[in-house]
């Protein structure tokens, strides 16, 4: 399974990088799949409402009413119809890419099972809604879709009378049956919307709107497509004839030819297996979960930064329970915590300079404590040599840096780059553990923990607490968001950074002799500038 994931991840990372070259980072369609899905949903809804005004729900006049919209009122209803069709197709495309991308990035197991599980029914509902929509046009395609899908349903031994008999001959079909299809076509998307709301319940600050520029571009693309290649009906349905050549919408109907070719038992068996596997995937195999973040109340002042920075709403604030003179305290819901460490990175007590007391932040990851991070940073820093030493902070989802390590390049691993308190950068430079710091990890705007890169960038820019101190020479800090497959790009960035460092004046903020940081410390330096 991990090999399959790797293939998908590599492919989507490449696509993301390629699109990243032509789109501004916030516009990259690969990073807005969910938001684009919502955007298409709203386009489908609005265009659907307009079409419904002119749509005749009787089986005899449905086709004519759509023809009227397409040809007589092409400038509005016709365009709306095309929007309805093409936005539905695009919805399927972004939905499937979104699903495969989350699979490739292993964001469907562990505590993320909830989002996966609630997303699977939405996929099914989008397909059912789309297929039922094709019935309503009542052209030859509709005839084919209606008969093929009811014949397939009739294979289940639950219907007393074959549903497909409704399409036996022209006089067999009643408008009442047609009205039922319209009800389905409207009700299912509404249910899907309810599921989407549930789907996002464990995600804080979900992006459900694409950036305005991207939305306008996509809208213009749809408009151009609708004008150049409007959605048209095929010849009207005639149950006295068997349609020969059908222009299928392959986004929704690609499995229909298979349904006709293979025996019903096989297609139903395959469908059931596929559905069961989809639902079971978060546990195939289950993710080995890191321990959830833990609150150390003795060091917590209830500042709520961890609450605001948690990307999965795993932290809640409750009234203080330990009698300290603070109003609130955070509590961690282990079922929601992905152990990304963003909370520890946001904690004002995660200060590596602290020596008078143990380095125990108000909130921390038991498996990867801030104290162990400091120990690791010091140990690696002490081993670096040369005049252009670089300390690389890399997240678990970033590139494999085993081959990049050298005498002058040390690598510290983090759960997420957002786990790094900015004071660590100050610590590395001021304690002369390295001449420069490089932060790397996921692709920009594609952080595995959603906000890790965004938060660290804001902290460095002093826009988000805790701030990186002004005294840190910014030229000695670089970032390179290259993703898991960006090892070679990072290597080039490090080479360039190394050359820059060698051209710089020696760091005046450090002592000239490189002694162990522990021998130079006598105070809790750095705690006041957060």
């Amino acid at each position: 399974m991990s090999a399959v994931r790797w293939v998908f991840r590599s492919f989507f990372d490449l696509l993301e990088k390629w699109l990243g070259r032509i789109f501004p980072p916030e516009w990259n369609p690969m990073l807005n799949l969910g938001a684009l899905g919502f955007f298409f949903y709203w386009i489908i809804t609005i265009s659907g409402i307009y079409i419904y005004i002119f749509f005749d729900t009787g089986v005899n006049n449905a086709y004519q009413s759509i023809e009227y919209m397409t040809h007589e009122q092409w400038y509005l209803a016709g365009i709306m119809r095309s929007f309805h069709r093409y936005a539905s197709d695009l919805l399927v495309v972004v939905m499937m890419i979104h699903m495969l991308r989350e699979f490739g990035r292993d964001r469907y197991r562990g505590v993320r099972w909830f989002s996966w599980l609630t997303g699977v029914p939405v996929v099914a509902m989008v397909f059912v809604a789309g297929i039922s929509g094709y019935w309503l046009v009542w052209d030859k395609l509709a005839q084919y879709v209606a008969i093929a899908s009811t014949e397939w349903l009739d294979l289940l031994p639950i219907f007393g009378e074959p549903i497909a008999r409704n399409f036996l001959s022209p006089d067999a079909l009643e408008s009442r049956f047609f009205t039922l299809m319209i009800f389905m076509h409207i009700a299912i998307p509404l249910i899907a919307l309810a599921f989407l709301w549930i789907h996002l319940q464990r995600v804080t600050k979900p992006r459900i709107n694409p950036p305005r520029g991207l939305a306008i571009s996509v809208f213009l693309m749809l408009l151009a497509l609708s004008l150049i290649h409007p959605a048209l009906s095929q010849p009207p349905a005639n149950l006295a004839e068997v349609p020969g050549d059908i222009g299928l919408d392959w986004f929704y109907l690609s499995l229909f030819p298979l349904m006709e070719t293979l025996p019903g038992s096989i297609t139903w068996g395959m469908t059931l297996c596929f559905v069961v596997i989809l639902f079971a995937m978060p546990w195939l195999p289950p993710l080995k979960r890191a321990e959830a973040a833990v609150v150390h109340l003795d060091n917590c002042n209830g500042c709520a930064r961890c609450f605001h920075d948690c990307p999965y709403g795993a932290i809640e604030l409750i009234a203080r329970t330990d009698g300290m003179a603070f109003e609130r305290e955070p509590i961690v819901d282990a079922e929601k915590c992905v152990a990304c460490g963003l909370c520890a990175g946001s904690c004002p007590t995660s200060i590596p300079f602290r020596r008078m007391s143990d380095l125990l932040p108000g909130i921390d990851l038991p498996d990867r404590t801030i104290a162990s991070l400091r120990d690791q940073t010091e140990a690696i820093g002490e081993q670096l040599s040369g005049s252009n030493r670089i300390m690389v902070f890399n997240c678990d989802h970033g590139p494999n840096l085993a081959k990049i390590k050298s005498d002058s390049i040390g690598v510290v691993s983090l759960a997420c780059v957002g786990q790094l308190p900015p004071s660590f950068i100050d610590y590395v430079i001021s304690r002369d553990l390295a001449d420069g710091v490089m932060l790397t990890g996921c692709l920009e705007n594609s952080c595995d923990a959603r906000f890790g890169i965004e938060w660290i960038k804001q902290r460095i820019a002093r826009q988000r607490d805790p701030h990186l101190r002004n005294r840190v020479p910014r030229e000695r800090l670089k970032t390179s968001w290259v993703g898991a497959t960006g090892g070679s790009k990072l290597r080039k960035a490090l080479e360039a950074f190394s050359k820059e460092l060698s051209r710089m004046q020696p760091n005046t903020r450090t002592s000239s002799n490189r002694t162990s940081p522990k021998t130079k410390i006598g105070q809790n330096e750095g705690e006041s500038d957060a």
Binding site: F23, L90, G160, E161, A164, M221, L225, L239, V242
Partner: protein, 167 residues
């Protein structure tokens, strides 16, 4: 990358997406039915005779029943299978026993068969047995028809209108 090149790249990207969506939304064409052929669709749902014939209850038997369950007849739920045969131009195309649907086999027997034939003249014979007779059929119809290419000939069955309906 230069801004202008970025804009051009975006336009090309959106154009490719539009072409991809526009094309696959109704192309390539799917040839779902062969040229020069017609289709005969035999489809019906019909309840056959009951396995045990209904028996009129005597007035004593009716009186023994609780007032809300009193009925004139005592009938078994189970129905016998329907025997159906379809021959086209003298060749047996479909011969089946349709088991009554339902958990207690008390529902109708169902048939849904699609047969592709060459367009042209055909002699179609269809017969059905829904009673307990041991030989022969209760309903039988023979038609000589000329089917056009892509014609869909529906053969339905409704006992109360006399048997098979060719539509």
């Amino acid at each position: 990358m230069h801004k202008l090149l970025q804009y051009i790249g975006q336009i090309i990207c959106f154009a490719l997406i539009a072409i991809f969506i526009g094309y696959f939304s109704n192309r390539p064409v799917y040839h779902q039915f062969p040229e020069g052929k017609a289709q005969i669709k035999l489809a019906f749902a019909h309840g056959a005779a009951r396995e045990i014939d209904c028996r009129r209850l005597t007035s004593k038997e009716i009186a023994k029943l609780p007032p809300n369950k009193r009925r004139p007849n005592n009938c078994s739920r189970e129905r016998i299978p329907i025997h159906i045969q379809l021959t086209i131009d003298g060749e047996m195309i479909y011969d089946d026993l349709l088991i009554a649907t339902g958990l207690s086999n008390d529902g109708p027997g169902r048939a849904y068969q699609k047969i592709t034939v060459s367009a042209g003249e055909h002699i179609i014979n269809v017969r059905l047995r829904d009673s307990k007779r041991e030989s022969g059929f209760d309903y039988e119809t023979t038609r000589q028809l000329t089917l056009k290419a892509h014609q869909n000939l529906a053969i339905d069955f409704k006992a109360d209108t006399g048997g098979f309906l060719f539509r």
